[in-house]
C-alpha cells in the first residue's frame, strides 16, 4: 500500500505541476486587468508540443537529443524523494537532501551542456548565466537545508517532515523562519521567476532559462517545459511540507489521505499566490544584482543556524 501511494504521489506531481504555472499566470493576468488562460490551456500547450515535429540543427550532436530525457528523468527522480500528502516517498529509503540537490544538478548539467551544442550565441549566454546563478544559489539552499537537518537530527526529507509535524507550531516558526526566507529566495532563482529571470520575456538579452532552450521544438521542448514546471512544483512542495507539515497523512485510511491531499493543494496554491504576488510587485533585477540577493539568502541561512546553536533546540 505504501508503494502504491508513493507512486501515486509521483503521478500527482506530473499532473499537478503545470497547474501551478497556470495559477501564477492567472494571478498575473487578473492583476493586469486581463482574463488570463483557462486551466486547460497549460495542458493543451504541452499536448500540442508533444504532437509537433522537431527541427534539429546539423551542428547538434546526440547530447542535444538526449538532454530532454535526462532533464525530465532528473526531475522525476527528485520528485521521488519528496513526500507530498503521504508521509513517505518512493526513494526516501535510499536518499536524502543531498541526493535531492544533486539530482537537480544532474539535470542542470545536461541542460546547460546542450545549450552549447548548437553553437549559437544565445545558448552560450543562457548557459553561462544559469550556471553562475545556480552555483551561488547552491550554498544558500544547502545551508538552509542543513540548518533544518540540525534541528531534526536527520538529513532525510521524510525524517525532517516527520520531526516538524510532531513538534508544536510556535517553536518551529521562530527558529526556522530565516531558513524559510532563504529557501524562498532560492525558489525564485531555481524556477526562474521575476526578481531573477522573466519567464515571459521575448527579449533574448534578458533571458536566462529561455535562452538555453531557444533551439528546442516539439517533443523535446514539451519535456523541458514540463521538467521545469515539475522542478518549480517540487520546491514549492518542499517549502510547504517542511515549514507547515501539519495535516500530513501517516496512515493509509482513505479519509485521512483525502483530507491531507486537499490541505496540501490549498497550501501549494496559497504559496503560489505569494510567488505570483511577488512577481507582480517587483521588477526584474539586473543580472549582477542577483548575487547580492543570493548573499542575503546565505546570510539568512547562517542566522537560522546560529540562532539554533545559541538558543538551543
Amino acid at each position: 500500500m505504501n508503494l502504491i501511494l508513493s507512486i501515486a504521489q509521483i503521478v500527482l506531481v506530473l499532473i499537478l505541476a503545470p497547474s501551478v504555472s497556470w495559477w501564477i499566470k492567472k494571478i498575473k493576468a487578473l492583476s493586469q486587468n486581463r482574463i488570463g488562460p483557462t486551466i486547460l490551456q497549460v495542458y493543451a500547450d504541452l499536448g500540442k508540443l508533444f504532437q509537433k515535429g522537431m527541427v534539429i540543427s546539423d551542428q547538434a550532436s546526440w547530447i542535444f537529443r538526449a538532454m530532454p530525457y535526462i532533464l525530465f528523468s532528473s526531475a522525476l527522480m527528485a520528485a521521488s524523494l519528496v513526500p507530498l500528502f503521504f508521509k513517505s516517498s518512493l526513494l526516501g529509503f535510499s536518499g536524502d537532501l543531498i541526493l535531492f540537490v544533486y539530482f537537480l544538478a544532474l539535470g542542470r548539467f545536461f541542460l546547460t551542456l546542450a545549450a552549447l551544442d548548437t553553437g549559437t550565441t544565445f545558448g552560450g549566454m543562457g548557459s553561462s548565466r544559469e550556471m553562475a546563478l545556480s552555483s551561488l544559489a547552491e550554498p544558500a539552499l544547502l545551508l538552509s537545508f542543513f540548518a533544518l537537518a540540525y534541528r531534526a537530527g536527520t538529513l532525510s526529507i521524510e525524517g525532517i517532515v516527520l520531526h516538524f509535524s510532531l513538534e508544536a507550531p510556535f517553536p518551529i516558526l521562530f527558529f526556522t523562519s530565516m531558513a524559510f526566507g532563504s529557501m524562498l529566495i532560492v525558489t525564485f532563482v531555481e524556477s526562474g521567476r521575476i526578481p531573477v529571470d522573466n519567464p515571459a520575456t521575448h527579449l533574448e538579452l534578458t533571458m536566462i532559462h529561455e535562452a538555453m532552450i531557444l533551439e528546442y521544438s516539439g517533443r523535446c521542448l514539451a519535456l523541458i517545459e514540463w521538467a521545469h514546471q515539475i522542478k518549480q512544483f517540487l520546491f514549492l512542495s518542499l517549502l510547504v511540507n517542511i515549514f507547515s507539515p501539519w495535516g500530513l497523512a501517516d496512515s493509509t485510511m482513505g479519509i485521512h489521505l483525502l483530507f491531507s491531499f486537499l490541505f496540501f493543494l490549498s497550501k501549494i496554491f496559497g504559496l503560489a499566490f505569494v510567488i505570483g504576488w511577488v512577481e507582480i510587485h517587483t521588477a526584474k533585477l539586473r543580472l549582477f544584482r542577483v548575487p547580492d540577493l543570493l548573499a542575503i539568502a546565505f546570510v539568512f541561512a547562517v542566522i537560522s543556524l546560529l540562532g539554533q546553536l545559541m538558543i538551543g533546540r
Binding site: Q51, V55, L99, L113, D117, P139, F146, T154, F298
Partner: protein, 570 residues
C-alpha cells in the same frame, strides 16, 4: 602475494632498462615497452587486492650494505596496500594509453628516455608507500621527485617547460626539507629509523615536539599535495609533462603526500590535538574554493585540470580534518567514517582525474593544441574520446550515479556529523564548510560544462580542430578502462566501504568497525543522519532515463510517412 609484489618491482626495473636499450629509431617498437609497465601494474593490483581482502600484512627485508640506517624493509599493511592499489590501477590504464600516445613523440624526441623515466617514476611511487624506514622513504621520495622533474622538462625546447621544471624542482625540495625535518625530530625522540618504533610503541611526545613535528609534516607533505598556499608549482608543472605522466602525477603522486600525512597523523604522533583538525579544515576549505575559482578562469585544458586537482585535494583534506578532529575527541567510529570518505575520494579522484587527463592528451595529440579557444566540434570527430571525457566530467562534478557523488556524499555526511558532538564552534563551522563544499561542486559543474561544451560541442574554431580524428585503439582502451572504473567504483560502493573500513580499523584499532558503515548494500553513517544506496541510485537513474526515452518515443511518434514528406529531421 609476496611473489606478486616482488615480481612487480622487478618488472618495473626491467621495463625501464628495456626502454633504454631498445633503439628509439625502430618504428613504434619502443611504445610496446610500456606494456611491461602495464603488466607490472597488473601484478601490483592483484597483490594489493589480495592484501586488502585478506587483511594481511606483508613484509620483506633486504639486507643493505648501509647498516647505519637499518635494512631496506618494505611492508604492505592495509593502508599501504590501498595506495598501491590506487597507483596500480591508474598506471595500468596510463601505460596502455602510453602505447599509442608515445608514438606521437616518435620522430621528435627520445622515446627510450621517456619509457625509462616513466617506469622508474611508477617504481619510486610504489616504493614510497611501502617503505618502512626513514632513510629509504626519503631516498624513494627524492627518486620520485627527480624522475618527475625530468618528465616535466621532457619537452625542454619549450621555455615554459623549463620554467615550470625550475619552479617544481624548488618547491618539491622545500617540501622535502620540511619532511626531513619532521622525520629527524621523530628520530631524535625515539632513537630509531624504523616506522614501527614511533607512535604507540614509543614514549609519548611532549607538547612542543608534537606540534612542531605536525607543522613540519603538514607543510612538507602539503607542498607535494598542492595545498593552497603551497600550490604554485602544480598548475605550472602538470601541463608540461606528457599527458599520461600528468595523469599519474595528478592522480597518484600528490596522493603519496596524503599517504605520508596520514602516516604522521594517525600512526606516528599518537593522539592528535583538536586544533590540528581545525587547521587542516581551514586549509582544506581554502584549497577547495580557490582551486575551483582559479580553474574557472583557465583556458588551457591541462592547466585547468591541474587546478581541479588542488580543489580535490582540498576535499580529501576536509575528510582528513574531520577524522583528526574526531580522533582528538576520542570518537574512533566517527573518525573512521571521515577517513573512509577521504580515502574513497582519493581513489575516485585518481580514476576520474586520470580519465580527464588522458582525454585531454588524446585531444591534444590530434588537434595539436590544448587551448580551448581553438577547439570545438570534436564530438563528431572523436566520439569515443568525447564519451569518456563526458563520463569523467560527470564524475568530477559529483553527479549521481557516478563515483564522485558517492565520495562527496560521504564527505558531506562526515562534515555534518559534527552536529552531534563537538563544541559550538565546530557545530557552526562544519555546516558552513559543507555549504562551501556544495558551492565548490556547483562551480566544478560550471567549469566542466564550459570545458566539454567549448571543446567538444559547437563548431570548430580552428583548422586543427577541423582536421582532427579519433585516436587509436590503445588510447581508446586506456580511457575506456578508467571510464569503466568510474562506474564500477560507484556500483561496488558497499564493498569498497567495507574494505576501507578494514583499513581504518588497522589505524584506529577498534573492533568490528566496518559493520557500522555498511548494511547489506546501504551506506550508513554512525551518527544515524542518513543512508544511501548507490546501487539503487544507479538503477533508478538508468531505468528512469530508459523509460522516459522509450515512453515519449513510442507514444508520441509521428508516422514515418509524414516525416518523410515534410523532409524534416526528427
Amino acid at each position: 602475494m609476496e611473489l606478486l609484489f616482488i615480481f612487480q618491482l622487478l618488472l618495473y626495473v626491467f621495463g625501464g632498462f628495456l626502454s633504454l636499450f631498445v633503439s628509439a629509431e625502430k618504428k613504434n617498437l619502443n611504445s610496446w615497452t610500456h606494456l611491461v609497465a602495464a603488466l607490472a601494474a597488473g601484478c601490483g593490483l592483484a597483490s594489493s587486492i589480495m592484501v586488502l581482502f585478506r587483511n594481511a600484512h606483508l613484509s620483506f627485508c633486504f639486507p643493505s650494505g648501509i647498516t647505519l640506517f637499518g635494512p631496506l624493509e618494505l611492508a604492505m599493511d592495509p593502508l599501504s596496500a590501498f595506495f598501491v592499489f590506487v597507483i596500480s590501477f591508474l598506471s595500468l590504464a596510463a601505460s596502455i594509453f602510453a602505447v599509442g600516445y608515445s608514438r606521437e613523440y616518435q620522430e621528435k624526441k627520445n622515446v627510450s628516455l621517456l619509457g625509462f623515466l616513466y617506469h622508474f617514476f611508477i617504481l619510486s611511487m610504489v616504493l614510497v608507500v611501502t617503505a618502512k624506514n626513514i632513510f629509504y622513504f626519503l631516498i624513494f621520495w627524492e627518486l620520485m621527485s627527480i624522475t618527475s622533474y625530468f618528465l616535466v622538462v621532457y619537452e625542454h625546447e619549450k621555455p615554459a617547460a623549463r620554467k615550470a621544471g625550475l619552479i617544481y624542482f624548488v618547491m618539491t625540495h622545500i617540501g622535502t626539507a620540511f619532511i626531513t625535518a619532521a622525520f629527524i625530530l621523530l628520530y631524535v625522540h625515539s632513537g630509531s629509523f624504523h616506522f614501527d618504533s614511533f607512535g604507540a610503541n614509543a614514549s609519548p611526545l611532549n607538547f612542543a615536539w608534537k606540534n612542531a613535528i605536525f607543522l613540519c609534516a603538514l607543510i612538507g607533505f602539503g607542498t607535494k599535495a598542492g595545498i593552497i598556499p603551497l600550490h604554485i608549482w602544480l598548475p605550472e608543472a602538470h601541463p608540461q609533462a606528457p599527458s599520461h605522466v600528468s595523469a599519474l602525477m595528478s592522480g597518484v603522486m600528490i596522493k603519496t603526500a596524503i599517504y605520508g600525512l596520514l602516516r604522521f597523523l594517525f600512526n606516528f604522533l599518537g593522539t592528535p590535538f583538536p586544533w590540528w583538525g581545525g587547521l587542516i579544515l581551514v586549509f582544506a576549505a581554502l584549497s577547495t574554493i580557490l582551486g575551483v575559482l582559479y580553474a574557472l578562469m583557465e583556458h588551457d585544458l591541462k592547466r585547468l585540470l591541474a587546478f581541479h586537482s588542488i580543489e580535490n585535494i582540498g576535499i580529501i583534506l576536509l575528510g582528513i580534518g574531520m577524522a583528526v578532529f574526531f580522533n582528538a575527541t576520542n570518537q574512533p567510529i566517527f573518525a573512521s567514517f571521515a577517513l573512509i570518505a577521504a580515502l574513497y575520494h582519493t581513489m575516485n579522484h585518481a580514476a576520474f582525474k586520470g580519465l580527464l587527463f588522458l582525454g585531454a592528451g588524446a585531444v591534444i595529440s590530434k588537434a595539436h593544441t590544448g587551448n580551448m579557444e581553438e577547439l570545438g566540434g570534436l564530438i563528431k570527430k572523436m566520439p569515443w574520446t568525447a564519451v569518456c571525457f563526458l563520463i569523467g566530467a560527470v564524475a568530477i562534478s559529483a553527479l549521481p550515479p557516478l563515483n564522485g557523488f558517492v565520495s562527496e556524499w560521504l564527505t558531506f555526511v562526515s562534515l555534518l556529523m559534527g552536529f552531534k558532538n563537538g563544541s559550538a564552534g565546530i557545530r557552526l563551522l562544519t555546516p558552513v564548510l559543507a555549504a562551501l563544499l556544495g558551492f565548490a561542486s556547483a562551480l566544478v559543474a560550471t567549469c566542466f560544462v564550459k570545458v566539454f561544451g567549448i571543446t567538444f560541442l559547437g563548431t570548430a574554431r580552428s583548422e586543427h580542430a577541423r582536421q582532427s580524428s579519433e585516436v587509436d585503439f590503445s588510447m581508446k582502451l586506456g580511457m575506456g578502462m578508467l571510464a569503466a572504473c568510474c562506474i564500477i567504483f560507484a556500483l561496488s560502493a558497499p564493498v569498497i566501504t567495507f574494505l576501507l573500513g578494514k583499513v581504518t580499523q588497522a589505524l584506529f584499532g577498534s573492533e568490528a568497525l566496518p559493520l557500522h558503515f555498511v548494511r547489506t548494500t546501504f551506506l550508513m553513517d554512525p551518527a544515524a543522519l542518513s543512508q544511501l544506496n548507490p546501487m539503487w541510485v544507479f538503477v533508478v537513474v538508468a531505468v528512469t532515463i530508459v523509460c522516459v526515452w522509450a515512453d515519449t518515443g513510442f507514444v508520441w511518434q509521428r508516422k514515418r510517412s509524414d516525416r518523410a514528406e515534410l523532409g524534416l529531421r526528427f
